[in-house]
Amino acid sequence: MSGAERSPTSAGSGPTADTPLADELAIRMRGITKFFGAVRANNGAELEVPAGQLHALVGENGAGKSTLMRILSGMYEPDAGSVRVDGRDVTGWSTASAIAAGVGMVHQHFMLVPTLTVAENVVLGREPRRGPSFDRARAEREVNELGASSGLVVEPGRRVADLSVGEAQRVEILKTLYRGARILILDEPTAVLSPPEVEELWTVLRRLRDKGGTVVLITHKLDEVMAISDFITVMRSGATVSRIRTSDTTPREIARAMVGREVALAMDAIGGMIPSPASGGDGSTTTTTQAQPSLRGTDLLAPVPAAPPALELRAVSVVAPDDARRRLLDRVSFTVAPGEILGIAGVEGNGQTALVEAIAGLAQFTGELRLNGRDVAALGVRARSDAGLSHIPEDRQRRGLILDFNVADNLILGRQHHFTSGPSLDRGRIAANARQQISAFDIRPPDATLPARALSGGNQQKIIVAREMGRDFSVLLAAQPTRGVDVGAIEFIHQELRDARDAGKAILLVSADLAEILALSDRVGVMYRGRLVTVLPRAIATPEVLGPYMTGAADNPVDELSIANERATPVGRPRDGGRA
């Protein structure tokens, strides 16, 4: 168990567990309470982290993790409670004094200037000068040195706009370290990373920890918690419910503490396939040949079910709206059969959005698109929906809901033309529909007249799931169906997806969460730079096999793809045959 012996505490399993002496603690937050209007985000929350510890702060959405960390980094002032950093009372300090005291927070959304170089971004606000001018050479040298010592290697002269997401995150961490941070807070840092990038991040964080730095990692991914942390603080409803040494607990126990009851984990379904460096850190990776628990007893190597496809794409391409030469989606072909879930894995930003929007009718594309054998390429969004296509969009707050509309009105979005009598909306049927969906999908609070904005993220997502799955459909596009949703709602949505599949629906599941893809899919495709680089049967799709595809290191389109590619590209070929 890496680093567990570094912790100065003896094993404990509750908030009252024996804690180290107060002056050994890098962070001590006591009785933190914070109100936003009438909402209590923190309710007597506690956090104790000794120096040199990798500490995971876990909890469902809305448990108060981010609020607590923002109080620590000086963005919010607590309504009650005390904050001590390195033994000094700093309750209610400012972000400036937090930075000066070495507390740095790396936010979920990067705050970088894309047109500046790595070095310029890192030193921004503290630029080294030579006389009146910016000393670029020194900035680049300093960034290089800092990168070498921390393991965060990025070329200082490159423009941030040209970096990958993983590299941009490294720059963000470098920025914090440049300002002298010894206590590093990371808010959901792995949401946008591929598995190899996650591994690199872990290496960097361990190195920081080994040099005496303190790291607090906000996450709700249990495999990450197990892989990286020394100690865990679990929050629920704004309060600290548990403080546990990582080596003394299990994912199931953490999940129970987070939710307050027993839950089925996605990881259970795949038999703990996510490699845990904490348990096999010496290079002995999990073997890909290990027997897989088959989800429905499907044949190990049956690639495509025999049923005719419910969804069929042939050489579908989408170009960028501002640049017709850049393909967001590059000649993608695949089929999804009734009763099948095709999972699309890949680092975000590799064409998944264009794929889903092209199928839904929200993006222009070239190529063929068939729904139950019928060519729907010329149909609009509404006609495709009427032809049996349901769509859970990846961005529920932008696409999926009208946040200021009430729940009942949101439950008919996209099908409003089926709830009319003449030009009028049929309020009675809308209300009846709302009552039925709210009870069938357990949307809380069960009040159809509340604006969707007033519901929690998980319940907002349930509105969308209820609308799209609580109706007659044959094909479902499920894009990031559980993003930002708490463990209980994830469990519920996963079960809905499995039930729909078992009821003969065809489902295209797009998710950045590999564990989710592996837990639900019958086949797994990987997208990289707008292309579908492989489609594999679930049984041989493991993180080790998929990882190289996700980073572009491997490229092995399956046969149906090459056929499609040939059909799509004759125009570019030389016709004179001069050099055959």
């Binding site: 509309f405 996209g414 009028s424 007249t449 904005r453």
Partner: protein, 371 residues
């Protein structure tokens, strides 16, 4: 209120917590305008004191000169009728997420169309036929002017703020040209009197309203407001229009063709503004005159903001602004009538700074101007 009232209260209310009941949401909708009025009253008191007058006396005069007698009331109703139209015009465009600053030219075009068609009608045409025809002409005139920015936005993404501002200049100049060089009665800047289709004044029924411009156009305008309420909150197209205004991406996801909604909303908006032209042209002077509604298009924006883009709110706000405007004349002996302009400005500023959806509309408008 009827079963669906929560829909519009929700749509105009600010974000509320999960515990927000219907009453809370109604309060959230009504509080900002009431606060704005209270603030205006305080500022008004200070101004009046600064002029060395007693606030109580000035307010008494203001009320007496407006709601206190038939003439004043008639003038308030007349002014409110015009402002209701331009306010509704701005409101429906705003509900679709558009910032229609073209009320000035749309109401002028509506009045021009009604006046021109009106004097061309045969004098013998019965009012029952002529009035609806001229009302339709007014709406068509405004609707055409509104359709241009709507269609340009839908087709080319042209920003409606810029297009409507530019159209104000173009349309008003064109109308001036048409009237001054071809259609005017010699020695004047107005068209010939309409031959048929006059809308009766209140003074025709009761002599106490003698001299006031109030006329039965107001009934047509109230009916239009009711119809717009039904359209916005009770029909599928209204649902889609509001969806586009709140979140165009989500509306598109919901199968709504956003461009068509923009065009349709701007046509309706222009038509409602144009309808405002009948108040003067058919109900008061019986001819189109250059500049007959100058300023009412812009004041309509304030009316819609204070009325929170809701037809009922717009009518109430129009009454408020009409009262202030008429009241300014009544108190002129004690304080300069510009004082009420200051009060209007205070009401508008207080609303703008307190209401989230107003801020959203303004931000969208500013973004458009910058791009």
């Amino acid at each position: 209120m009827s079963s669906g009232s929560e829909a519009e209260v929700t749509a105009i209310g600010s974000p509320v917590g999960p515990s927000g009941g219907r009453r809370d949401r109604l309060a959230a909708a009504l509080l900002p305008p009431l606060m704005a009025l209270a603030l205006a009253a305080v500022v008004g008191d200070l101004l009046i004191l600064a002029f060395g007058e007693a606030p109580r006396e000035v307010y008494r005069l203001l009320i007496e000169g407006t709601w206190g007698n038939a003439y004043g009331l008639g003038q308030v109703l007349y002014k409110a009728t015009t402002l209701t139209c331009t306010g509704l015009a701005f409101a429906i465009a705003a509900r679709a997420g558009l910032f229609n600053i073209g009320g000035e030219s749309q109401i002028a075009a509506g009045g021009f169309a009604a006046g021109t068609v009106g004097f061309l009608l045969p004098a013998a045409m019965p009012a029952l036929l002529a009035v609806p025809l001229l009302v339709l002409a007014a709406m068509a005139g405004g609707g055409v002017v509104g359709a241009v920015p709507g269609a340009l936005k839908a087709r080319f993404g042209a920003n409606e703020v810029i297009v409507t501002i530019m159209l104000n200049f173009i349309v008003l100049a064109l109308l001036n040209y048409a009237v001054s060089s071809h259609l005017h009665v010699p020695e004047t800047l107005h068209t010939p009197e309409i031959a048929a289709g006059v809308i009766p004044r209140l003074a025709d029924f009761s002599s106490t309203f003698r001299g006031s411009a109030a006329n039965l156009s107001m009934l047509i305008v109230v009916a239009a407001a009711a119809l717009l309420w039904w359209y916005l909150f009770r029909t599928r197209r209204g649902y889609e229009l509001r969806a586009v205004g709140l979140q165009p991406d989500a509306a598109e996801y919901g199968g709504v063709r956003v461009g068509s909604v923009w065009t349709r909303a701007m046509i309706i908006s222009g038509a409602v503004a144009g309808l405002g032209g009948i108040n003067y042209v058919l109900g008061y002077k019986h001819y189109y005159e250059e500049g007959f509604a100058t300023g009412s298009g812009f004041l309509g924006i304030a009316v819609a903001l204070v009325g929170r883009n809701h037809p009922v709110g717009v009518m109430l706000a129009a009454l408020l602004f009409a009262t202030l405007s008429q009241g300014g004349l009544a108190v002129n002996a004690l304080v300069p009538k510009q004082m009420v302009d200051v009060l209007q400005a205070v009401v508008i500023l207080a609303m703008v700074t307190s209401v989230p959806e107003v801020q959203r509309v303004l931000r969208a408008g500013l973004r458009g101007v910058r791009s």
